[in-house]
């Protein structure tokens, strides 16, 4: 018995990442579009990451009881906090109003986002295992509290591939001096997945938005040199028996060449109307807000072009302990800090949702809004809040989400989850599900185990699905 294996079959057979990659190379793309496990609801994800830990009791989880107990010590056991400087019960300084058909209450610091509440499913019962920024950031991004594991965007890209051969499938946006959250750019890393899945950082307001994307000479000269060495490369390829790896590397030069044109085109907003820019708040005199708005608009342009996963980055308002890496971290001056941070993102995100909707993209785009943990219902010092991983809120909207839903609940203080407790594994199980991927089947063999974004956990939160 003698079977001839085609090169494609042979590569598909290889168990290591190399096989897959080389195959992608053969297809003349930096990434093929892979097959989802079942019919997807969403094609892309936009992840509005609220680094630093947004207080849920001040945003999407109103707790009138806190008013009642103002200034009193917590009547229930207080868990260890990171600063161990615990004050008394501290009601939200913000008012909540009901919005939309669903009548879901939202804090006054999100007046515009609130109007989109009928598109959103708010999860009020999120929990995390860790109580510290870098570990929390890794936990929500990768499922594990330390570097080394692939981030969700990388998993999605690995599972689905991009639909645009000139752009990376997973893009992280920065603007106005925003930086990676605590933990560094490893949060966007591909871990043990092949490196082509890692996030490409796009500085949306930078003259060179992606590292080394600007040619240092005319395209003409560059093309000439490319052709010159391509000739040599072809000869080399022949000499080494048409090695698929080399072939893929040759193709990569072409992809890179085309990316040089695709990226500036992407970042050039001149074809966007004034009204669109205004919708997002790009015209805002508040420079932070305008910068964040630019990320939101870019996010739409990216998903339009088939990018699978876009992560956005908040800018610091330098209030409380909120620095560049953790802008929402108001251990002090919560009212001022959360007010300013909400102002920065409220209109841009609302604008993004509206824009996606009016273009018919919201149905196939899943928007996630989340931070690494919530904040304590009691104060830290006089006017801040410490970290609270025992119960907090996130929301999702768009592709496959049942709008106007509230899922789960915390106790009357907003301290611990009392109903439908869930964790980041459930979040990603749900996200992958909406993308047509079975989270238990999206695996990669590394270090002797078949690893998953959801480790050995995760369940799809079906009550929030449309």
């Amino acid at each position: 018995m003698k079977t001839f294996l085609s090169r494609r079959q042979m590569l598909a057979h290889c168990s290591s990442g190399f096989g897959l990659l080389a195959l992608q190379g053969l297809c003349g793309q930096n990434q093929i579009s892979a097959q989802p496990h079942f019919t997807p609801k969403a094609k892309s994800v936009i992840f509005c990451y609220m680094s630093g830990g947004v207080s849920h009791v001040d945003t999407f989880d109103p707790k009138p009881a806190l008013q009642k107990y103002t200034g009193k010590p917590m009547p229930i056991k207080v868990e260890r906090t990171q600063f161990n400087n615990n004050g008394n019960i501290f009601p939200s300084p913000f008012e909540f109003k009901r919005y939309g058909q669903s009548g879901i209450p939202v804090s006054s610091i999100f007046p515009r986002t609130a109007k989109m509440v009928d598109e959103m499913a708010i999860i009020r019962s999120m929990t995390s295992k860790v109580n510290e920024h870098a570990q929390g950031n890794y936990a929500i991004h990768t499922g594990f509290p330390f570097m080394g594991h692939p981030t969700a965007g990388a998993w999605v890209n690995y599972g689905l591939g991009t639909q645009n051969q000139n752009l990376p499938g997973f893009v992280v946006l920065h603007s106005g001096g925003s930086v990676a959250p605590h933990g560094g750019v490893g949060l966007y890393g591909s871990g043990y997945l092949p490196a082509n899945n890692q996030g490409s950082i796009l500085q949306v307001d930078n003259a060179e938005p992606i590292q080394n994307i600007n040619p240092r000479e005319s395209i003409f000269s560059q093309r000439k040199r490319l052709d010159f060495h391509k000739n040599f490369d072809q000869q080399f390829l022949n000499k080494v028996g048409d090695n698929p790896q080399v072939e893929a590397a040759i193709q990569n030069h072409e992809v890179a060449f085309r990316m040089q044109a695709a990226v500036p085109e992407l970042c050039d907003l001149k074809e966007e109307t004034k009204a669109t820019k205004k919708l997002y708040g790009l015209d805002s005199a508040d420079l932070q807000k305008a910068a964040y708005a630019r990320q939101c608009l870019l996010a739409r342009r990216l998903v339009e072009r088939g990018v699978r996963f876009v992560e956005l980055s908040c800018l610091t308002e330098k209030i409380g302990a909120g620095g560049a890496a953790n802008p929402w971290d108001q251990h002090g001056a919560l009212e001022k800090g959360h007010g300013a941070m909400a102002h920065q993102v409220d209109q841009p995100i609302a604008g993004l949702l509206e824009d996606l909707k009016s273009r018919g993209l919201l149905d196939e785009t899943l928007v996630i809004w989340a931070g690494e943990f919530g904040r304590t219902p009691f104060s830290q010092g006089s006017n801040g809040r410490d970290h609270n991983p025992y119960g907090f809120s996130i929301w999702m909207a768009g592709g496959g989400i049942k709008g106007g839903t509230v899922y789960g609940a915390t106790d009357e203080f907003g301290y611990h989850v009392t109903e439908n407790k869930c964790d980041f594994y459930d979040l990603w199980a749900t996200v992958l599900h909406l993308l047509g991927l079975d989270h238990t089947n999206l695996t990669y063999r590394h270090g002797g185990r078949d690893l998953r974004l959801t480790d050995v956990h995760g369940r799809v939160l079906s009550p929030i699905l449309a």
Binding site: G17, N30, Q82, E132, G184, G191, I213, F236
Partner: protein
């Protein structure tokens, strides 16, 4: 799949055949091939007594036939429709068995097919009894079955097959190839072999000289040439650098811990240098493995005489390459994580096993139990994070003896004097104390000596009462049962505390030991109560003192310490080493003992220890003070209400009040004092001081009652001086990361891995599959574990390392998963060869070099990489190694090769120095690995993320790699410098040299012609562009002239109006130290420093013109400059130029300089240039220069004393300021140059442009001062001028402006993209870097 491939996948059981079942005994077939598989892989979840997932039981014939929810499992006689077979073949995506395991081997699948096809004979009439089931599915039974896996089998002694008389390795390989009918490839071309060899052994490309020599020799005898070059390369110091990097991948080397704050791992670099040295010296792998686990405990450590260090002690540093979170509120969770990280790295690196998979349950696939995991956990979790002394111990003893002797002599001299002095005088009546603390011995005297009669009596009684109360408190303190209390003077207690460092000895320090003053006129520094001290001989000696493990309770932790403020006093919860919000730390007081308090409520219930470390010894937040010291006397853990310990007056005053004072007056009191003091001095002389007496004596010395100065003790002083000289020779010991063992303990197993659910304790021991004997009670087990790694019946260690060596030489291991030899790893392609090599390696002293030499002298190493048609067809993965594997270079050799060929790689200082910053030109192995900001160039080419063992790097193909090679400024710089090295000579030779350096071979005639054509084309193109550009420039000049004609009269008018004001302003603004206005010639107008024109530079119309080779240089400047501002007005000839300097201050040879530079690191941007980029960073966010070719712009760079470097352009801050070290320019030793970055004035440092004015200030001007210097008041905007134009003029002006815009745009476009003055071979150099042949080794 062909039979051939099946063969390859099979290791132990050789497949029989696929023929007819009837011929063999069906029962035997079932029992030997089917039942064991069912038991091993199916019974656990599908049995008749417990679990029957999907209602399916597979432990009886009926169960099998009936099936479960999905219907019958088998249809006898019809294998293809049998669900069981489909499921184990993984035909369905969502139903694959065994669950989440690897697919069963093809052989097993084939057996099942045969079995079903032949009717599925099954003797199992009924299911096994529950006992039988338990027995077959018990862990012991499972483990024994799993131990049959190939890697658990002993290493066999195997003779190579005899195919021909060639190399043994080839015998094995060819024999296997012949079984498949494949022939090995012939030798590759000679120079390909050399390139392969050179990169494999040193990570560097072969030089032209090596290529020539190799070719000449190889013409005669290729094999002996390879032999000879292999020897040479193995002897190269760069061998160690190459192979240390592989090793660093295994142990996840990093210079920081990651997470929030990403703190440094102090001294991590010493481990890298240790590896390089060890590999270069070919230290046996057995030795190194032992050092990695227990190098600090080895009885006869490896001493490096020339460096004076204990090499062995550095080995354990990798245990500290763990990740650490920031201030975790669940400290045990963090502890479990970083211990898990250690277990993972150690077992993968040395055993090729994934023991960390057994944290929550027995290993899913391998013979590794959950107990195994916790046995190793117990060994490793005991090791407290530490900095360990690596100094050669021999260094200390000599000096220590001398110093001790001197101390004795000094003490004897002091006692002699003290016994003779008249204390009556010293205790003069009017004495006022300077000491305010409780331990002031003179306090009663000060209070009482002037009182008489009743007053004296009253005060005496009052004081006496206080002292008695104080004694009572002390007694209470001593008799109270605290949860924990320690007195460090107690030898038993002292021995239980863990110590490291050169200052802390084996026994506690007795009362009355003292320290000498190390500077000044004093003799004694302190006389000390008994306790633990690091500084009895020298404050350069160091120490870590850490308590036994204890459980925190609610209350307070107290520790009584004295020491310098660089010392850290802290508690550690579950070995967590970092400081953070809920991890408090404190510092002692150098002048007095102090009780330091930590509240413990937060951590009640957790386990931890107390630790005091001298400044450089903190495991994470180490300082760099060479002198640091501390002493600890007591510590306790108190529950709330158990009082606060404090310094008690009774601790010095008790002897004064011990007896009644017969006459209550000051004469009697003085007598009492004199008596006590005399007794105390006597006791000191006899070495029998109590702590109280020691404190008394110390108080007396401190207050000058007892003589302690140079004048008072002249004979002592000379001894002290001698002491100080020798003390200077004591070394502050060098340190490396490591661990400090506490008292050994067994770790409790965590049920399902949940650290909140401890179960039974597991003894510390090796893996039970090899030996489950517990390690001795008194040992942490590290030494024993190290020993077990190397024991004869452990088949893993030797196999794993030879496989790693094979992997790095041939591009793939014999086992292609080098970190996993378990069930989920791949099978060895040549198990016999692997065993042959492992056996040989062990027998021949575990020598890595010897093994490499052996392997690279095989024929297979030399074979060409182009597969034959047959090989491609039947062995596409090249498992048979019929041809060499094509390999992409790793990130480091790519970068190193670029640096090398462009003449910039610094190859000296092998195995020396700390980790290097990003702009370093040393080899990449020396680069700092900062976890949260990994090097982008290295990362893009798959340098590993240092989070776990990486025996096999990814080799990805991503566009970012191509973008890097096309556009990265460093790559372009490399190409430019590469071309610059080849500027003269015959074009063909020059091209050929480029090829030889970059690709290790000469270009063919065709390639040469092709290259020349390419260069000609780019030349022509460049010429055309140049012509075009000069035409446009001319046009621009004309238009500008025209505009000037229109606007100039109006401008002049405005200027004249303002001139009066401006003169005034100039006199008020900051005064420079040197100032040139080239209108007034070449001499500076402040100090008269002359400037000289060089190589065609000229003065014209008040401008210094530096073009082509021209530049200008001053005589030496007559003052020293540190803080400074460089300021100049400059206009550039074009914006494409690179790396020219406007104004530079420098040493006369240019070795040290600071300069205003245009477009060096980044094109079209200004920066502050400096020698070797020492003070250079980009001014980030600075805009591209768009105007300096059109008009003069003002540039200034300020260098402040704190190292801030700030750029200004036209009065405004340019980009972001940054920090760097400042440097000093010596008086009469420095010059200023214009138009050249620094001397000597080579072409790539020259500016093309003109300079109008320039100044040097001896300080960093403020932004306001810069603004006034630029003087926007004088800057007349176009708008102002246009406003004053007549309507007609305005119209002309607008037209001209439009035309100007168009021309400017055209010029900009050309300039932005065309580097019109690049070296002529730069395009080719860059093309070579981009060639696949450059990054692939064929």
């Amino acid at each position: 799949m062909s039979n051939f491939l099946t063969c390859i996948f099979v290791y132990f059981y050789v497949v029989s055949s696929t023929k007819v079942m009837a011929q063999i005994d069906q029962r035997e077939f079932f029992e030997s091939k089917i039942r064991p598989v069912l038991v091993e892989h199916c019974y656990e979840c599908h049995n008749s007594w417990g679990k029957a997932k999907s209602q399916l039981t597979l432990d009886s014939r009926d169960g099998l036939l009936k099936g479960g929810n999905e219907g019958p499992s088998i249809i006898p006689g019809n294998p293809e429709d049998s669900l069981l077979l489909q499921v184990i073949r993984h035909n369905f995506k969502d139903l694959r068995m065994p669950k989440s395991g690897p697919r069963l081997s093809n052989e097993v699948l084939e057996n099942f097919r045969i079995w079903i096809a032949n009717g599925a004979f099954d003797p199992r009439d009924k299911p096994p009894s529950i006992k039988q089931l338990e027995k077959t599915t018990s862990w012991e039974a499972v483990r024994e079955r799993r131990k049959q896996w190939w890697s658990f089998q002993p290493i066999r002694k195997i003779e190579p097959p005899q195919i021909n008389d060639g190399h043994p390795v080839d015998q094995f390989l060819i024999s296997k190839m012949h079984q498949s009918g494949i022939e090995p490839n012939d030798n590759a071309e000679g120079l390909s072999i050399l390139r392969r060899l050179s990169f494999a052994l040193t990570g560097l490309p072969p030089t032209i000289e090596e290529q020539d020599r190799f070719s000449n020799l190889a013409n005669n005898d290729l094999s002996s040439t390879v032999d000879r070059f292999a020897d040479e390369l193995l002897e190269s110091p760069h061998f160690g650098e190459r192979w240390a990097r592989h090793w660093m991948d295994w142990v996840r080397y990093a210079d920081s811990h990651g997470s929030e704050g990403d703190p440094q791992i102090p001294n991590a670099y010493r481990y890298r240098n240790y590896l390089i040295r060890a590999l270069n010296q070919d230290i046996g792998f057995d030795r190194l493995a032992r050092e990695h686990i227990a190098g600090d405990l080895i009885k006869e450590p490896r001493i490096n005489q020339s460096l004076g260090i204990n090499e062995s002690a550095i080995g354990t540093a990798h245990l500290r390459f763990v990740l650490h979170g920031f201030a975790p509120t669940d400290a045990l969770d963090e502890h479990v994580r970083f211990t898990d990280d250690q277990i993972d790295a150690v077992t993968k690196t040395f055993l090729g096993l994934t023991v960390s998979c057994a944290r929550c349950h027995h290993h899913k696939f391998d013979a590794i139990s959950q107990d195994d995991y916790y046995a190793l956990f117990g060994i490793l979790s005991n090791g407290r994070p530490a900095q360990k002394v690596i100094e050669d111990p021999a260094h200390f003893t000599d000096h220590e003896k001398t110093l001790l002797g001197l101390k004795n002599e000094i003490k004897n001299e002091i006692v002699k004097v003290w016994k003779k002095i008249d204390l009556n005088i010293e205790l003069g009546a009017n004495r006022k104390s300077t000491e305010k603390n409780a331990l002031n011995f003179l306090r009663p005297w000060e209070k009482l000596h002037s009182l008489i009669d009743d007053n004296f009596s009253k005060e005496w009684d009052k004081l006496k009462k206080q002292v008695k109360e104080s004694e009572a408190r002390l007694n209470v303190r001593r008799s109270t049962v605290y949860p924990l209390s320690w007195e460090l003077k107690d030898p038993k207690t002292y021995s239980k505390w863990k110590k490291s460092g050169t200052g802390l000895k084996n026994h506690p320090s007795k009362s009355g030991l003292f320290t000498l003053s190390l500077k000044g006129d004093k003799i004694l520094e302190d006389i000390l109560p008994a306790g633990a001290y690091t500084h009895l001989l020298s404050t350069k000696q160091n120490g870590t003192l850490s308590s036994p493990r204890f459980k925190f309770v609610e209350g307070d932790l107290w520790v009584r310490v004295v020491g310098d403020q660089g010392t850290t006093v802290r508690y550690s919860v579950w070995n967590y080493p970092r400081r953070g919000t809920v991890y408090k730390r404190s510092s002692p007081d150098p002048l007095a003992e102090k009780w330091i308090n930590f509240k413990t409520n937060y951590w009640a219930g957790e386990t931890g220890y107390l630790e005091v470390t001298t400044n450089r010894d903190h495991p994470v937040e180490a300082g760099n003070a060479e002198r640091s010291w501390f002493g600890v006397t007591e510590a306790l853990l108190a529950t709330p209400g158990q009082g606060q310990p404090k310094d008690e007056i009774a601790e010095v005053l008790s002897p004064l009040f011990a007896n009644l004072l017969l006459e209550k007056n000051n004469i009697s009191l003085k007598k009492r004092y004199l008596g006590v003091i005399k007794d105390t001095i006597d006791s000191w002389e006899n070495d029998s001081l109590t702590d109280t007496q020691a404190r008394i004596l110390n108080s007396l010395v401190k207050q000058g009652i007892l003589p302690n100065t140079k004048e008072q003790l002249p004979s002592c002083y000379s001894l002290v001086q001698k002491y100080r000289k020798i003390e200077e020779l004591i070394k502050a010991p060098r340190l490396a990361p490591g661990v400090l063992d506490g008292v050994p303990f067994d770790q409790a197993l965590f049920t399902r891995g949940d650290h909140k659910k401890p179960a039974h304790n597991v003894p510390r021991r090796f893996l039970e599959a090899i030996d489950s004997t517990p390690y001795p009670d008194g040992s942490s087990g590290r030494l024993e574990f190290a020993q077990d790694l190397l024991r004869k019946d452990n088949p893993f260690t030797a196999r794993v390392i030879v496989n790693r060596i094979w992997h790095h030489l041939f591009g793939n291991g014999l086992v292609r998963t080098p970190d996993n030899f378990g069930r989920l790893g791949e099978l060895p392609s040549h198990p016999e060869l692997l065993d042959f090599l492992a056996h040989k390696f062990r027998k021949e002293g575990w020598s890595i070099k010897r093994m490499i030499k052996f392997l690279v002298t095989s024929e297979v190493f030399r074979s060409s990489s182009n597969p034959s048609i047959l090989a491609k067809e039947i062995d596409p993965q090249n498992l048979l190694l019929s041809h060499a594997n094509l390999r992409r270079l790793e990130a480091e050799p790519i970068r190193d090769a670029m640096l090398l060929v462009s003449g910039r790689l610094q190859l000296d200082r092998v195995a020396e120095g700390i980790s290097e910053p990003q702009n370093s030109q040393r080899r990449s192995v020396y680069r700092r690995v900062q976890r949260n900001s990994l090097d982008p160039f290295l990362s893009v080419f798959d340098a590993p993320v240092p989070s776990s063992t990486k025996g096999r790097r990814d080799i990805t193909n991503v566009p970012a790699q191509s973008l890097t090679l096309m556009n990265d400024p460093e790559v372009l710089r490399g190409a430019r410098e590469f071309a610059n090295l080849h500027k003269t000579g015959n074009i063909e030779n020059r091209i050929s040299e480029l090829f030889r350096k970059a690709l290790g071979r000469k270009p063919s005639a065709g390639e040469l012609n092709h290259s020349i054509d390419y260069l000609n084309a780019t030349d022509k193109e460049a010429a055309m562009i140049k012509l075009n550009l000069s035409k446009l420039t001319l046009k621009l000049r004309e238009l500008n002239d025209h505009v000037t004609k229109v606007t100039e009269p109006t401008r002049q008018k405005i200027i004249n109006l303002r001139n009066v004001n401006s003169a005034l302003q100039e006199s008020q603004i900051a005064k420079p130290s040197l100032h040139w206005d080239f209108k007034n010639g070449l001499v500076d107008s402040i100090a008269g420093v002359k400037c000289f024109l060089k190589k065609g530079a000229k003065l014209e119309n008040g401008e210094l013109i530096v073009q082509q080779s021209g530049y200008a240089i001053t005589e030496k400047i007559p003052f020293e400059v540190t803080e400074k501002t460089l300021s100049a007005w400059v206009k550039l000839d074009n914006l494409n130029q690179r790396s020219g300097g406007v104004m530079t201050i420098q040493s006369p040879n240019g070795g040290v300089f600071d300069s205003i530079v245009f477009a060096e690191k980044e094109s079209r941007k200004w920066m502050s240039g400096s020698n070797g980029f020492a003070r250079t960073k980009a001014f980030i966010t600075a805009p591209f220069e768009m105007e300096a070719d059109q008009e003069f712009v003002h540039l200034a760079i300020t260098y402040s004393s704190n190292g801030t470097i700030t750029g200004y352009r036209n009065g405004e801050i340019y980009g972001q300021p940054y920090q760097a070290n400042s440097t000093k320019f010596l008086k009469a030793e420095s010059v200023i140059s214009f138009g050249v970055r620094h001397l000597p004035a080579s072409p790539n440092r020259l500016l093309q442009g003109r300079i109008k004015k320039a100044s040097l200030f001896d300080r960093a001007l403020t932004s306001d001062e810069i603004l006034s210097k630029f003087n926007p008041g004088l800057h007349i905007t176009e708008e102002k001028i246009v406003n004053d134009l007549s309507p007609e003029q305005k119209e002309t002006y607008r037209k001209l402006l439009k035309e100007l815009e168009i021309v400017k745009k055209k010029i900009k476009k050309i300039e932005e993209f065309e580097n019109t003055n690049k070296p002529d071979l730069q395009d080719l150099a860059l093309a070579l870097f981009n060639m696949k042949e450059f990054i692939y080794i064929k």
